[in-house]
């Protein structure tokens, strides 16, 4: 049955790749951030010389999507930097709703208080992800701010009690918080949190040279086993992020199989106007720029490098028997075209 399901999944994935509907669009609206996390994938800074993207520029770029796709089928993921640093965030969100887009934010929660919560929900916010990277001491160490844990928890309590919102908590698992996962799970359950997602820290951005943050292979397996056990327990909906193919754990750590949808269903408009897929993908993979190109033209006619991934069969993937199921892993783990994958979590 498992082999048949995997076969069906590959047919499904091929079909989705051919259709390649754009229904998840990141907007990197700012590089400003109020934290300086040790593991930041985008290497954001509290002070940046790069100005925020004017919302009017972004809205103009996505206008063709409004005519192509039915209302509510495209969600805009507003990210940064820290999107709550934009004072016009609610205005942006309200305008997105008026144009038929759903929208959500990925936030560290520092500025997410009750007033902001009400303002954003009233502007049609539909989905939020908050980062919580361990118990108080560990989270504050990683985020390098003594208040960051309490602020994130405050945000989560507000969000979890808001029936209109989709949400989840994400935890970047590293050497320090791995032994804390059980207690962190209990803390989340005690606070009414029902959706939790774990991912590991990619060796990119600021984390690239920090060995303290990277899990060993046996630690990754320990984390996957924790996810599988927690899912069987059923007290909280825990998943492993779709960041890597996990081999024998594929049916135990997620609701569906690994499928990197970068460039297939996921696109992005980056701060400088570049058009790409997920913002954490190497910037050399950019496919165009909203200031020179039509976003929909770029989506329709470029992105072949992400839709035909045969080039990813290099390095350790060359002789891997699971390649047809994994297709060379996640795009963000490729430093550039033709480059081998930075790491692999295939457990047999």
């Amino acid at each position: 049955m498992s082999a048949f399901k995997r076969f069906l999944f590959r047919v499904f994935r091929k079909n989705e790749t051919e259709i390649h509907e754009l229904n998840y669009l990141f907007w990197e609206c700012t590089w400003r951030c109020n934290l300086s996390c040790r593991h930041c994938g985008s290497d954001c800074k509290s002070e940046t010389r790069v100005a925020d993207m004017p919302f009017a520029d972004f809205l103009r770029a996505i206008e063709p999507l409004e005519h192509r796709y039915p209302r509510d089928t495209v969600i805009i993921a507003i990210t940064g930097g820290e999107p709550l640093l934009r004072e016009d965030l609610a205005d942006c969100g309200r305008a997105l709703r008026q144009h038929g887009f759903r929208w959500g934010i990925v936030t560290n929660g520092m500025l997410y208080d009750e007033q902001r919560h009400r303002e954003l929900v009233a502007a049609g916010l539909s989905s939020v992800t908050v980062s919580l990277d361990g118990l108080e001491e560990t989270h504050n160490w990683l985020r390098q701010h003594p208040q960051s844990f309490q602020r994130a928890l405050r945000a989560l309590r507000l969000i979890a009690n808001e029936p209109r919102l989709n949400y989840d908590v994400v935890t970047c698992v590293h050497k320090r918080n791995l032994p804390e996962l059980q207690r962190l799970k209990e803390l989340l359950i005690a606070n009414g949190i029902r959706y939790w997602r774990l991912f590991t820290i990619a060796p990119i951005g600021r984390a690239a040279g920090d060995s303290e943050l990277m899990l060993s292979r046996s630690q990754v397996e320990e984390m996957l086993q924790f996810i599988a056990d927690t899912r069987r327990e059923g007290k909280i909906n825990l998943t492993f992020s779709c960041e890597a193919y996990t081999g024998k754990y594929e049916e135990e750590v997620r609701d569906s199989y690994f499928f990197c949808r970068a460039g297939i269903n996921i696109g992005s408009v980056l701060l400088n106007g570049d058009i790409s897929a997920c913002p954490n993908i190497n910037r050399s993979f950019r496919q165009g720029n909203i200031y020179h190109d039509n976003l929909l033209d770029v989506w329709d006619n470029r992105f072949q490098i992400m839709r035909d991934r045969t080039w990813m069969r290099c390095g350790m993937c060359t002789s891997c028997k699971d390649y047809k199921q994994c297709l060379g892993g996640a795009m963000h783990l490729r430093p550039g075209e033709g480059e081998p994958i930075l790491r692999c979590y295939n457990f047999r």
Binding site: I75, R102, V106, G124, N166, S256, A262
Partner: protein
């Protein structure tokens, strides 16, 4: 012609995958560094009121076969079955509001309306038109 047939085949395949429960979750995804995307969680609830007076209307049956919802409005015009639903299809959903208690609370025209998926995450507001007063 070839392109047309190819698109038909792709859409048929998609329909077939969406029809089998063991693959439905494949449509619900989120980018690995993004927030939850396509799936939507909603408790369907709302209020039915008279289009002219804005007064709540009791005794109307609210039905949506698309989301398996049935409830009857109470004296505040409120309907809800308090069941949490996970919706993966973000298209429109049909709702009908039908008078089932004859003229006990007045006679109202049947309302047949479409609701956008994302609007299901907020209390619905339906307006109905009175045909005759209560007897």
């Amino acid at each position: 012609m070839f392109k047309y047939l190819k698109e038909k085949k792709q859409k048929l395949l998609r329909f077939l995958f969406g029809s089998f429960s063991f693959t439905a979750l494949m449509f619900a995804f989120q980018a690995c560094y993004g927030m939850p995307g396509n799936q939507m969680e909603a408790i369907i609830q709302g209020r039915v009121s008279d289009v002219e007076t804005n007064e709540p209307v009791e005794g109307l049956m609210v039905v949506s076969e698309d989301v398996s919802f049935v409830d009857t409005t109470d004296h505040n015009g409120v309907f809800s079955d308090a069941e949490k639903r996970y919706l993966y299809d973000l298209q429109e959903f049909r709702f009908t509001v039908t008078d089932i208690d004859s003229t006990e609370h007045g006679q109202y025209e049947t309302l047949d309306t479409m609701v956008y998926g994302s609007d299901l995450t907020q209390p619905l507001q339906f307006k109905v038109k009175k045909v005759s007063d209560a007897q």
